[in-house]
Symmetry: C2
Subunit: 136 residues, 2 copies
DNA sequence: AAAAGGACGCTCTTTAAAAGCATTGAGCCA
DNA sequence: TGGCTCAATGCTTTTAAAGAGCGTCCTTTT
C-alpha cells in the first residue's frame, strides 16, 4: 500500500494523500474516523484540512483502497482494504475493535441469499459487547 | 402492541405516541425512518411535529418498544420490537428489506464471542445486494 | 520548462438528529 | 368531577458529521 496504489487509482500523488495512507497503515488502531485521521496529522508540521481528509477518504473508498464502516455511534470509521474480508467485534466500553472471519457464517449467508433469490454484493456482521478485563 | 405498552414504558398515552405506534404496526414497509413516519402522518388531520417523531421514536427505543437500525444510507430506520430477533437483507436497488433468522449463524456468533473472551450484548448482520426482478 | 487540470485549504452549506423553551394536555387526587 | 402538577408537544434553534464551492497552488505530462 503506497504511492503506486494512489496513482493506480487515477489520483495524483500528493502529500495529504500519502500522509493519510501512512496514518492508516501505521496507527495502532486499525479503524479510524475521519476526525481521528485529522487529529493524528495535527502534530505533524503542515496539518491537513479536515475537508481534505473527508474528501481523500471518500476517494480512497471509491478507489477500493479503504473500507468505510458505519458502526453504531454516528461516526464512520475507515480501514485499509487488504483484500481479505472480515467481520468485526466492537467493544462498547473501550471502543476496541477486533476482526474475525468465519467460513461457516460466510457460507450460510450465501445459502440464505440464494434461498431468497438475492444477489449478494456485500454484507456487514458486527458483534457488539464487551471484552473481558484481561483482553481490553 | 397498544396503549398499554406505552403506559408500561412509563410514558403518558398521548395522541402522537398512539399514532406513531399505529403507523409502525400498519405500514406496509415494516422499517420506517423518522421522516417516513412523519410523512405518513401528514395526511392525517392533526399532523405531528417532526421533532416529536424523533423524540418519541427515541423514547420507544429506550423503552424497548422499537428497534433502531443503522443501515447504510444515513437515515436510521425503526421497526416494532416483537421480541423475536432477526437479521436483514437490504435491496440496494429498491430499498426492500427482508428479515431472516438463522440459528446456525447465531450459534457461531456465540462461539466466536466466547473464543475471544467477549460478552455479547447485541449484533447486527445485514446482507446488501439485489433481489431478482420477480421478488422485488 | 511551461501548460493544464486536478488537488488543496478555507469557508459555507447540507442533513439527520436533538436541545430549548413556552404552551398544552394527561393523569392523579381530593 | 375539577383542578393541579409535571410531562409532552410544537416551534425554532442548535449540533455534528459530511460534503460543496471556489480561488489558489501544485502534480503531472510533454
Amino acid at each position: 500500500m503506497n504511492s503506486k496504489d494512489i496513482k493506480q487509482a487515477g489520483l495524483k500523488v500528493t502529500l495529504p494523500r500519502t500522509k493519510i495512507l501512512k496514518i492508516l497503515e501505521t496507527a495502532s488502531a486499525h479503524h479510524l474516523s475521519a476526525e481521528e485521521v485529522y487529529r493524528a496529522l495535527l502534530d505533524d508540521e503542515g496539518a491537513i484540512a479536515l475537508a481534505t481528509v473527508y474528501r481523500v477518504l471518500t476517494q480512497f473508498e471509491t478507489a477500493g483502497l479503504v473500507i468505510r464502516h458505519n458502526f453504531e455511534g454516528g461516526q464512520a470509521v475507515f480501514e485499509l482494504d487488504d483484500g481479505k474480508h472480515h467481520d468485526h467485534m466492537v467493544c462498547l466500553r473501550t471502543g476496541k475493535i477486533v476482526e474475525f472471519h468465519d467460513e461457516i457464517i460466510e457460507q450460510r449467508q450465501r445459502d440464505i441469499a440464494k434461498q431468497h433469490g438475492f444477489t449478494l454484493s456485500d454484507h456487514a456482521l458486527i458483534l457488539y459487547g464487551e471484552f473481558d478485563e484481561t483482553n481490553s
